[in-house]
């Protein structure tokens, strides 16, 4: 791939100096593309994002090997604020709105990096992506619904005119319609502003539809990567992430149960 904007080169990450969470992770985000990162819980996807954004520092985690480069510059030695200023914004998992601030104040705070010169224009841009937020702008953000909060944290990231957005589970706990809306906005921001996305997602089907290239992580390593078409065709991805049975049929959760139960008896 050409035009690599962000590259993670064989990093290892340890927490508290004792627990090794990532053991050799490499990935690349080209400019203007959407990349997705799949994997079971605890595989280290969030840790990878935090290693890039520098937020690892506040959690007693450390990159102990390898490096992270953005436009040729090393990131793994920088603090989270500096990295954000360079244009890499992480959207944290779990709708982390600033509860006591209003919707609009949440967005204004995010213009800290880009400055207030174009504040109104930037606000309008976000309200254009998420019209719902405009109606809610004077509401205290702690009291709006989960889906609206997810819109808010996404919109907040766009306020800073990022070059790369590290998006952690945008669809977590969202209703199907809402998931579609958020994914649609990601697609728009990507095509209209050329923003790159590194998307961590459990909703593998939606993520693979949106992204161009994907990585699969297991227990702290990248185990598989390729263009999404190739991943969608992979047997293991089909079985473990998309839920197709051996016959190419969609598996029912009820049947899975009996199958596994028998496996437990035998094992």
């Amino acid at each position: 791939m050409s035009n690599i904007l962000l590259s993670v080169n064989n990093i290892e990450v340890a927490y508290h100096g004792v627990v090794l969470v990532l053991r050799g992770v490499s990935l690349e985000v080209p400019g203007g593309k959407i990349i997705c990162l799949l994997g079971a819980n605890g595989a280290g996807k969030t840790t990878t994002l935090k290693a890039i954004s520098g937020l690892l520092h506040t959690e007693a985690g450390k990159v102990i090997h390898g490096d992270i480069r953005f436009d040729g510059q090393r990131l793994d030695k920088l603090g989270p604020e500096a990295i954000a200023t360079l244009g890499i914004i992480q959207v944290l998992e779990g709708r982390r709105v600033l509860e006591h601030l209003t919707v609009e104040e949440n967005l204004e705070v995010a213009s800290y990096i880009y400055g207030r010169v174009h504040l109104q224009r930037d606000l309008d841009r976000v309200y254009d992506y998420f019209p719902r937020l405009k109606d809610l702008r004077h509401q205290v953000s702690g009291y709006i619904s989960g889906g609206e909060q997810q819109m808010l944290v996404a919109g907040r990231a766009f306020m800073a005119h990022p070059k790369v957005v590290l998006m952690d589970e945008p669809s977590l706990g969202l209703a199907p319609l809402m998931v579609e809306e958020i994914f649609e906005v990601i697609r728009r921001v990507n095509s209209e502003e050329g923003t790159s996305f590194l998307l961590v997602e459990q909703n593998a089907m939606a993520a693979l539809d949106l992204a161009e290239y994907g990585y699969v992580m297991e227990t702290g390593r990248i185990v598989l990567d390729g263009p999404v078409q190739q991943l969608k065709g992979n047997e293991d991805v089909k079985e473990f992430y998309l839920g197709f049975g051996a016959l190419g049929q969609r598996k029912s959760y009820r049947e899975v149960k009996h199958y596994k139960r028998r496996k437990r008896w035998l094992g």
């Binding site: 954004s53 520098g54 937020l55 506040t58 959690e59 603090g79 989270p80 604020e81 954000a84 200023t85 914004i89 992480q90 959207v91 944290l92 982390r96 600033l98 509860e99 006591h100 601030l101 104040e105 204004e108 705070v109 995010a110 213009s111 800290y112 990096i113 207030r116 205290v140 702690g142 009291y143 907040r156 800073a160």
Partner: protein, 245 residues
């Protein structure tokens, strides 16, 4: 406490015009050093750590003060002309007027700062979540420095006024604790609350002392504090906690 003691030195040696900027400069320095050296590593730690840390710092300064000043009261120079004006039924000293003016000025400035300025908003964001603020590129460390510098400077300014009333002595740090009922009664995060709470506590303490004796008077703010905590935990102007499950 430090503020009062240091301003005594400056006032005695340099006179008002130099002493005030000098003391503010010192406050700036002390606030910055404290934040840099001691509170910065606590980013992301629970609030109790910060609470205990500030107490520890208080005792550290207390220890230094004990060594150099001992426990005696140092008389505070009278640095503004003492006059008094009749006001309604009572006479108000010019010191009182100055104090009230300074306090009001600080309140207005603070309120404006928090609601309007970018830095004020960044500060409120930081108060809610260090991590989110960092992810948005807000320099949490700078916000912290500023907070502490502001706190120190305000404390120093008030020390100038306060010193005249009570003199300078080591146990002044206990007076800091007396501010707590006032702030809590008003509501922790409300500027107006602090003003109202402060006035309320002050007035009630004086009244209680007058009618019920010094014994009840001195613990009266804390009795009010208990009642307020039970009846209206977040004070009169504070924001309620948002709990979502």
């Amino acid at each position: 406490m430090m503020g009062v003691l240091l301003s005594v030195i400056f006032l005695n040696n340099f006179g008002v015009r130099i002493a005030i900027p000098l003391a503010i400069g010192c406050a700036f320095g002390i606030g910055w050093v404290l934040e840099r050296g001691i509170l910065r590593p606590l980013i992301g730690q629970p609030i109790i750590s910060a609470l205990l840390m500030t107490l520890a710092v208080a005792y550290l300064l207390d220890g230094v003060a004990t060594i150099f000043w001992g426990t005696k009261i140092v008389p505070y120079p009278q640095w503004y002309p003492e006059q008094s004006f009749p006001f309604m039924a009572i006479r108000v000293s010019s010191g009182m007027v100055w104090t009230i003016l300074a306090a009001t000025g600080i309140f207005v400035a603070l309120a404006f700062f928090y609601r309007r300025s970018m830095m004020g908003k960044a500060m409120r964001a930081t108060a809610e979540s260090h991590q989110v603020s960092q992810s948005l590129g807000i320099k949490v460390t700078r916000v912290f420095s500023l907070c502490w510098i502001m706190a120190a400077v305000i404390a120093f300014i008030m020390a100038f006024f306060f010193g005249v009333h009570v003199g300078a002595f080591r146990y002044l740090s206990e007076w800091g604790f007396r501010a707590i009922p006032a702030v809590l009664i008003g509501g922790l995060d409300s500027i107006l609350g602090a003003l109202v709470g402060g006035l309320l506590v002050g007035v009630l303490e004086v009244i209680a002392t007058a009618y019920l004796g010094a014994y009840v008077g001195s613990m009266f703010p804390f009795i009010i504090l208990l009642i307020v905590i039970i009846v209206r935990p977040h004070g009169f102007f504070g924001q309620a906690e948002i709990v979502r499950v």
